[in-house]
């Protein structure tokens, strides 16, 4: 018999975890939406942003800067690093591949992944660096209704709050700004966008920069949760089923996909896992994704592509 309190706790915890997956998935969506490139390097970008932030923060604090000044400067430094990265990727990787097919661009991002992972660790270190930007303790809600209450982690709530702000900001950016509309035009057709005067190099720099900044935001939350270290790159694997379910082109889809994956895998692990050996949550997320693929190949919120043949 499953206790209602336990079920609610797992469900809420799963939904909250899903929002954290969405933070990483958003970076994928942004770049795909704006350039048609599936960016395999998003996990590596989270690592780079996290390392730049935590190492600069440590250095500034060690040199006597007040914490809040160190945080502001550290975030600024990491943002500059992501801007430089965006420029380098546009200039030397994606730029020269204009009008190449999607698979070529995808392969190039695999190369970018290895370079970013190696360079980030070479420059900033390959250790495990603690980051404490948000509280990580928990609230125990409704303890008068359920024995022990329902646990809600404060970091998860912060993650949800930040994801909400990001989604709102990105929606405004894509729908209401000239650059946002240009990004969507470039995603539809590189050559057509160029022919009407859209500076494709600049647009791609902007989109990689925005994805880099989203990676930085994800790094602040995940770095607080895990410490900043190489394993943070594995979050990209958690984001993949989110993308398949939500759709590669939808910002709200990334959030909804995250919620479905988070809740689904946690409920499966806690309530089904013990019957089939446990450790099922990784593949269970992909089972969910497969089920969605069978019904809606473009994902729940993805654009349905109709091609004339």
């Amino acid at each position: 018999m499953i206790a209602l309190g336990q079920f609610l706790e797992v469900l809420i915890g799963g939904l909250m975890s899903g929002v954290l997956y969405s933070l990483v998935a958003l970076g994928f969506v942004l770049i795909f939406k704006a350039s048609g490139v599936f960016n395999f390097a998003q996990g590596a970008m989270v690592l780079l942003a996290g390392l730049a932030l935590v190492r600069s923060l440590d250095l500034l604090v060690a040199n006597g800067f007040p914490l809040w000044v160190a945080i502001v400067l550290g975030i600024g430094f990491a943002a500059v690093i992501m801007a430089i990265t965006a420029w380098l990727i546009e200039r030397f990787v994606i730029g020269p591949l204009v009008n190449q097919d999607g698979l070529t661009l995808f392969m190039s991002t695999i190369g970018v992944t290895f370079i970013l992972e190696g360079a980030a660790q070479m420059i900033f270190g390959s250790g495990s660096y603690p980051l404490r930007l948000f509280p990580t303790d928990a609230w125990f809600l409704f303890d008068n209704l359920f024995p022990g209450g329902i646990l809600v982690n404060k970091l998860d709530v912060w993650g949800g709050f930040i994801a909400g702000i990001l989604v709102a900001g990105l929606a405004i950016f894509f729908q209401q700004t000239k650059t946002g509309r240009a990004l969507r035009a470039v995603a539809d057709d590189h050559m057509a966008a160029q022919s009407v005067g859209i500076p494709i190099g600049w647009i791609w720099f902007v989109v990689w920069l925005v994805a880099g900044l989203v990676a930085l935001v994800a790094a602040t939350v995940w770095g607080t949760k895990l410490g900043v270290q190489f394993s943070i790159t594995f979050l990209a694997l958690k984001a993949l089923p989110v993308l398949i379910i939500g759709g590669l082109t939808s910002v709200p889809g990334a959030i909804v996909g995250g919620l479905i994956v988070g809740a689904g895998e946690k409920i499966a692990e806690v309530f089904l896992g013990s019957y089939i050996g446990g450790g099922i949550e990784y593949w269970f997320a992909y089972v969910l994704a497969l089920a969605v693929l069978l019904v809606r190949p473009q994902g729940l919120f993805g654009e349905r592509i109709i091609a004339r043949v």
């Binding site: 660790q121 070479m122 495990s128 603690p130 990580t136």
Partner: protein, 465 residues
């Protein structure tokens, strides 16, 4: 070595001119050393192996999800070999030729490294130490066929303690079955006696891999014997997401949680325990879950967490003075100086020392020359380090005597418990010795099944010398 002492000294001077402090200069130089090694095909050895040198491969992982733990261990191993060359001119004049191969803790890469390195040097590899139970499982048959010993100090196959069946496996100092027994002994002591275990709940949070699964049969035996309720809880590689597991633990409220993690899984487990308010004092990690990188990411939340010790812990001993004098003073050390003496660095040194002493022992029988793997196997099987010899080697206080034999490839099964106080590890227990009355029936049973399955005829240890 890719960079000699002179070049390294010059580098050091150059870094100072650039305004870097000594520690930063070490870090930069180490990266240069590693980069040079990688560019030259991953080799720390000179390109042409001299015919008078003993070849020793190092299977390491300086990249990937487990690099946080793999790097300090590999540094300890490499620095000790370097010490033997720099201080003693090798083993009885036979210099050590060392080459690292990056496995990333992946079994396929580990096997590739093995195949690439097993025949190197004038006599082939002296032994392998893969630092991965998964790679150990994959290599066990190969090393037997190739007659190269595989040293798995504190890890690997627990049944390979039985040298009559596993002639080439050496799980020195302690198997996971010994570790499980020691952990339960400590819990019993905390509870006030073994009889108090009855009815208690003990969960095992384990890395879902051959490593993490290894203690389960022993814990099942102990649960049956003592009457406690045992629940294994797997965590998928690499262990960055453990919310489900800890919510289940919060509901089940076990009296103790044993942690069999590696890499990011350990720190995440401690943080998740804090998030669900599970007392860290009731968590006991295996000796691979008890190093500095396992607790520092959790900060103050890790205070109170306990872990087994594979005899040694952190700290500096007489051998470290030699390392500093003969290796770091010459600019040849691989670690950042402040990390020399950390738990995993020390473990790497101990591991390297046992291999070196096995070669020294084998030289007594086969001569002071480079030896084959088969000859080194004899040295390992006849290794007998007394207190006096351990003191002579500078490891006094880190190790107890160890004696290997044909029937006992483990050699010693002692451990202690340490506790993280928020800043450092503190030893909180006396010595425990794994109870062979618990472990031996399982060793015999499982190794006999393995022998039958692989058509191995166990050696008669009474006839071995």
């Amino acid at each position: 070595m890719a960079l000699g002492g002179k070049e390294a000294r010059e580098n050091k001077t150059r870094y100072r001119k650039n305004g870097l402090n000594e520690e930063e200069s070490y870090m930069v130089r180490n990266k240069l050393l590693l980069a040079a090694a990688i560019l030259s095909g991953g080799a720390f050895a000179s390109p042409a192996a001299a015919q008078s040198e003993q070849f020793i491969p190092i299977l390491s992982y300086r990249t990937g999800a487990y690099a946080v733990n793999g790097v300090p261990y590999a540094n300890g191993v490499a620095d000790y070999y370097n010490l033997v060359n720099e201080r003693d001119g090798g083993i009885n004049g036979v210099k050590l030729l060392v080459e690292e191969c990056e496995t990333g803790y992946a079994t396929d890469k580990g096997v590739e490294c093995y195949e690439r390195l097993k025949g190197k040097g004038p006599t082939g590899a002296a032994f392998f130490n893969p630092l991965s139970t998964g790679i150990t499982f994959a290599l066990t048959e190969k090393t037997t066929t190739d007659k190269i010993p595989i040293i798995t100090m504190g890890y690997g196959r627990s049944d390979s303690k039985n040298g009559a069946v596993f002639a080439y496996n050496f799980p020195l100092l302690g198997t996971y079955w010994s570790a499980a027994d020691i952990a339960i002994q400590h819990i019993a002591k905390e509870l006030g006696g073994a009889d108090k275990l009855k009815g208690k709940k003990i969960s095992l949070l384990f890395h879902d891999s051959p490593y993490g699964k290894e203690p389960i049969p022993m814990l099942e035996v102990l649960a049956k014997k003592h009457g406690f309720e045992f629940t294994p809880i797997p965590v998928t590689h690499p262990g960055v997401e453990q919310k489900s597991q800890w919510l289940a633990i919060r509901q089940n409220r076990p009296d103790y949680v044993l942690l069999w993690g590696w890499g990011v899984m350990n720190g995440t487990a401690v943080k998740e325990a804090a998030a669900v308010a599970y007392p860290r004092e009731k968590m006991i990690g295996v000796w691979w879950s008890g190093a500095e990188p396992d607790v520092t990411p959790a900060g103050d939340q890790a205070a109170g967490y306990k872990a087994l010790m594979l005899q040694h812990g952190a700290g500096k001993f007489p051998v470290h003075a030699d390392i500093e004098k003969y290796v770091y003073a010459k600019g040849k050390g691989l670690s950042e100086p402040d990390k020399v003496g950390e738990v995993l660095y020390n473990r790497g040194m101990v591991n390297a020392m046992l291999g070196v002493e096995a070669i020294r022992k084998a030289q007594e029988k086969f001569g002071k020359k480079p030896l084959t793997g088969e000859q080194v196997r004899w040295g390992l099987e006849n290794l007998n380090l007394s207190d006096a010899r351990i003191k002579e080697l500078g490891f006094e206080g880190m190790l107890k005597p160890i004696k290997i034999s044909c029937s006992d490839h483990e050699g010693a099964r002692d451990g202690r418990v340490q506790q993280w106080d928020g800043k450092s590890w503190k030893v909180i227990s006396d010595w425990y010795t794994a109870n062979q009355a618990n472990t031996e029936p399982l060793v015999k049973d499982v190794s006999a099944k393995y022998a039958a399955e692989k058509n191995i005829h166990p050696r008669d240890c009474s006839k071995e010398s």
